[in-house]
Every structure is written in C-alpha cells, then in structure tokens.
C-alpha cells in the first residue's frame, strides 16, 4: 500500500509536467498538423522532374516548395536546387516536383546510383503555408535495379511486369527475350512476346514541367513499367538478369533484382476454390475385394461476362465401390448450369440478384434421375438498408 502511494506522487507530477509541456512547451512537443501528402510511390520522369503519389484521396489543390539533401547525410546543407511542387493535371493523387538550380549555381540534375532525401512544404493553393504543418519527406533512390513481378490477373498466365522508380527511355516492343541463368551460372535466353514499355520518355530534355509530362504520358503510374509475356512458363527456378534493349532514362541497361525468380503458380488450396478437382482413392489387397472412391469436380468459367451475365456449368461426381478406409461417398453424379446477375434498380429496391439454374442428378448406375431447377432470386434485407450517406473511412 505504501509503495503504491510512493509511486503515485511522482507519476502525478510527471503527467502534470507533460500536460504543461504540451500546452505551453516547445514547438517540438506541440502536435503538428499532419503532412497533407503521405508519399507512397514516386517516379523519376527526368533528371529534373519527379512525380510523387500521395496516399491521400485528392491532392489536386496542393502546391509548395521543397529542398533536396544527399542521403544518408546531414539535413543542414541542402543541395543547390529548389523544388517547385505542382499538382499533376490528369491524376488527382499525383504531384510533380520540378527541380530548378539555385540562381548563380550550375545546372542541377539527379544522379543515377545516388540516394536523396526530399523535404517538401505543401499547402493548398488557396491558402498560405501554415507554420505548424508537418513537412512531407521521403527517400528518393536513383537505382535502375528493378524487381520482376507476376501480373496480378490469373488469366494473364506468363505475364510479368518490371516496375521501376526510374522511367524507361526505351524498350523492346512486340517480341523480345529475357536472359536468365540457373543455379550453375548457365545463361539462357527465353523468348517472350507482348513486350512493351507503357510510357517511354525518349528525350528527358523535353520533359521539364508537369505540362510537358502530361502531354507525353496519360498518367505517371505508367512510368517505369515494362511488361512481357513468356512464351513458355516452364523456366522455373531460374534467375532473370536482363532484358536486352530495356534502357532507363539515363540510357543505361536496366538490371533485374537478384531476388526476382520465376516461380510457378500455386495449385488451388481446396476443392471449393478449384475449377478442376480429382481425388481418386483405390485400395486393394490379397484376400480382399478392391474398393475405390472418386471425388471430382469440373466447373470452368466459360467465356466472358455478357451484359453482366456469366455462364457457369458444373459437373461433380462423388462415387465409389466397396469400402475404402475413412472415406465415404454420397453416390451422386451432378451436372448443372447456372448464371447470375445482380441488378441495382433504385434506392428503394437497392439490389436484386437473379440466379436461375438447372441441375441433373443421378447416381453411378444412372438409375436415378432428378432434375432440379433453381429459380433463384434474392433481394436485400430492407430492414437494414444500404447506407449511402457519408461514411468515414477507418
């Protein structure tokens, strides 16, 4: 009890001191207004022009200035260049940083292989810069070593993308090759097609402002993107190291990150997530009758969405003969066809799901015939209507 009392007093003093410090203390302890842009990505379009992606929804009214520092290093001596920040005309989450040399100093440009720290003071174009707004800072790495990543769409088998912070000057179009090496150091050239640089900057001298960049590329997110589709996806466990002809904005060949590896896609984890599934168990032995169980499914997605409708045929079997230890079967064979479409008519009847289907069910001997119609439709629970008012994001 005494010990808790003796602890209570210093704690109270510490809390009171902290409260006083926050209210009247040094600026360092005062809560700053958060930076209006949290940088999540950047693209170097030219040695004097950088596009910056902010996490915030809309930064199209932000302007400002900034300084550049060698990094790692001291933030006391900025490099001899001023940064002018303007919004990108075509994309509301991007800002453009224009680097201008200081008066009476030599022309300045970003150097390949170096690292910089960028510090920006941003404010809305209609307001003056407030002193308590935290600066926007980020590290700028001028490397032309890029990772190679598989395309996100499963339907794009063998498609790879090389995403770089530096824009590409040029790259192969159409057919190209990817040089790989195996763990023994043997090199090989893999054939690829569909090679393209999404947005090339052939001459960086012509790109010195946001307007110049907007004329050349639709959106900065396309800068530093090169795609190819491998003719064969069998080259697993090989390390890609070069794409002949792919050059960065400095005219240097692009290097591929040694951590990149061509790995095959994983198989589906379960029967539900598979389009094709076969599980056959067969057990036999001397003096016993053999038994087998077949559990299978074929449910491909055929064609594309037509006016929002997708046809999905299914065929499932769960049959067997005799007994196989720990395995049961329902003795059903099922063929079906279904399609669904969701309508959103109006605010009162917010949604309507129309999902008709038909299924034929039988058994292994085909001596049982069931035709099942599934005239499915569903409307949302109107007791809990969809909220369309302002909802704050978490």
């Amino acid at each position: 009890m005494n010990s808790s009392r003796s602890l209570f007093r210093p704690c109270l003093i510490a809390v009171a001191a902290l409260a006083l410090a926050v209210l009247f203390g040094t600026p360092a302890l005062r809560a700053d207004t958060p930076a209006p842009c949290t940088v999540s990505d950047y693209k170097v379009a030219a040695p004097t022009l950088v596009a910056v992606l902010c996490d915030e929804d809309d930064v199209s009214d932000l302007v400002g200035t900034g300084k550049l520092y060698d990094w790692p290093g001291s933030l006391n001596t900025p490099l001899p260049a001023d940064i002018r920040v303007t919004p990108y005309p075509e994309a509301i989450q991007w800002l453009i940083l224009e680097l201008k040399p200081l008066a009476s100093s030599a022309p300045f440009s970003l150097q390949l292989g170096k690292k910089y720290k960028v510090v920006l003071a941003l404010h809305r174009s209609t307001e003056a810069l407030a002193p308590d707004v935290a600066p926007t800072t980020f590290d700028l790495e001028m490397t032309n070593t890029v990772p190679m990543g598989a395309a996100l769409s499963l339907s794009e088998q063998g498609k790879w993308e090389f995403v770089s912070h530096l824009a590409y000057k040029s790259g192969p179009e159409g057919p190209c090759t990817l040089q790989v090496e195996d763990f023994n150091g043997m090199t090989e050239s893999l054939k690829a097609g569909g090679c393209r640089v999404a947005a090339a900057i052939p001459d960086t001298k012509k790109v010195t402002s946001a307007a110049d960049l907007a004329r050349l590329v639709d959106t900065p997110e396309n800068l530093g993107s090169f795609e190819l589709v491998l003719d064969s996806n069998k080259a697993t466990q090989q390390l890609p190291f070069a794409v002949p002809g792919l050059l960065d904005i400095f005219g240097q060949p692009v290097k591929i990150d040694s951590k990149s590896q061509i790995v095959p896609e994983k198989a589906p984890a379960s029967k539900d997530s598979s389009s094709y599934y076969v599980n056959l168990n067969y057990a036999a032995g001397k003096g016993s009758k053999p038994g087998w169980v077949l559990d299978g499914k074929i449910a491909p997605v055929i064609g594309e969405l037509v006016h929002g409708y997708q046809v999905m045929p299914t065929a499932t079997v769960d049959v067997g003969q005799n007994q196989v230890s720990n395995l049961k079967y329902a003795d059903t064979i099922n063929f079906g066809l279904s399609f669904g479409h969701m309508y959103k008519p109006n605010k009162v009847l917010q949604g309507l799901l129309f999902r008709p289907g038909v299924a034929y069910e039988s058994d292994k001997e085909f001596d049982r015939h069931n035709l099942l119609a599934t005239p499915g439709s569903k409307r949302p629970d109107l007791r809990h209507p969809r909220k369309t008012t302002n909802r704050h994001q978490q």
Binding site: D55, S153, E221, V301, L305, G340, K344, R386
Partner: protein, 134 residues
C-alpha cells in the same frame, strides 16, 4: 398576318422544347464537365469501386474489396455475384481497351483464394496492366 390557333400551339411547343432541351443540356454538360478531364487508370478504378459499393468517400488504396462490399449494406455474396458486377462496371468504364481489363475470377475472396486482387490498389494495378486503349 394573323396567327392561327394551330400556329400558336406549335410556337408554344417549340419554345417549351427549347427550354426543356436547354435545361437538360445544361444539366448534362454540368454533370459531365468533371468527367471531361482525363483521369488516370487508378482514379477511374477508384471511382468505379466507389459507385459499385455505393460509398460516399472514395475508398482508400489499402481497403479490401470484400470488406468494402460487406460495408456497402447489400447482403449478396461477394463472390461471384458482386465480383461479377464490379468486373462488368470496369468493362464498361474501360470499353475502349483492346484486351479484357479483368476477369471476375481474378478477384480474391474467401471462397476464391487463388486470386491475387485483394485491395483497391491491386485492382487498379491489374487494370493498368491489362488496359490497352485503342
């Protein structure tokens, strides 16, 4: 020259038509004015997701599509129906693409764990990778 009753009605109808046409035209122009601006693929995808889920604020990049749908209030299954609806909306938005920008099976769901498109950012990246304007 005397104006006949039929002529007066015609003039009235034309005037009314012009007024209604102007109002509708102005409203259309006003509502499309914001869309006249070229937007990035990312911005267009975000706006499609916003409309699909009926959200007032724009969804953030890190938000998961399945979670956004769950918050939207419509209690239909996310996969395949809501994913199909989203794909259909994206197809309409990017109808000038020579290639298919997305298949609904590419969208991750707790019942479609093979797919890789989980968040708004993933979706925007996938569409950007597949979008080839004519």
């Amino acid at each position: 020259m005397r104006l006949t009753r039929k002529g007066a009605w015609m003039i009235l109808a034309i005037a009314l038509g012009l007024v209604v046409g102007s109002v509708v035209g102005l409203r259309k122009f006003h509502s499309f004015h914001g869309l006249m601006r070229t937007m990035s693929v990312h911005d267009r995808v975000t706006i499609v997701v916003q409309g699909w889920a009926g959200l007032s604020p724009r969804p953030s990049d890190k938000q998961e599509l399945e979670v956004i749908w769950a918050q939207s209030g419509l209690q239909f299954e996310f996969f395949p129906y809501a994913a199909q609806d989203l794909t259909s909306k994206l197809k309409t938005e990017f109808r000038d693409s020579k290639t298919t920008v997305l298949k609904f099976t590419d969208i991750y769901a707790s019942t479609n764990t093979n797919a890789k498109i989980k968040t708004v950012k993933d979706l925007a990246t996938a569409v950007r990778q597949n979008y080839t304007p004519e």
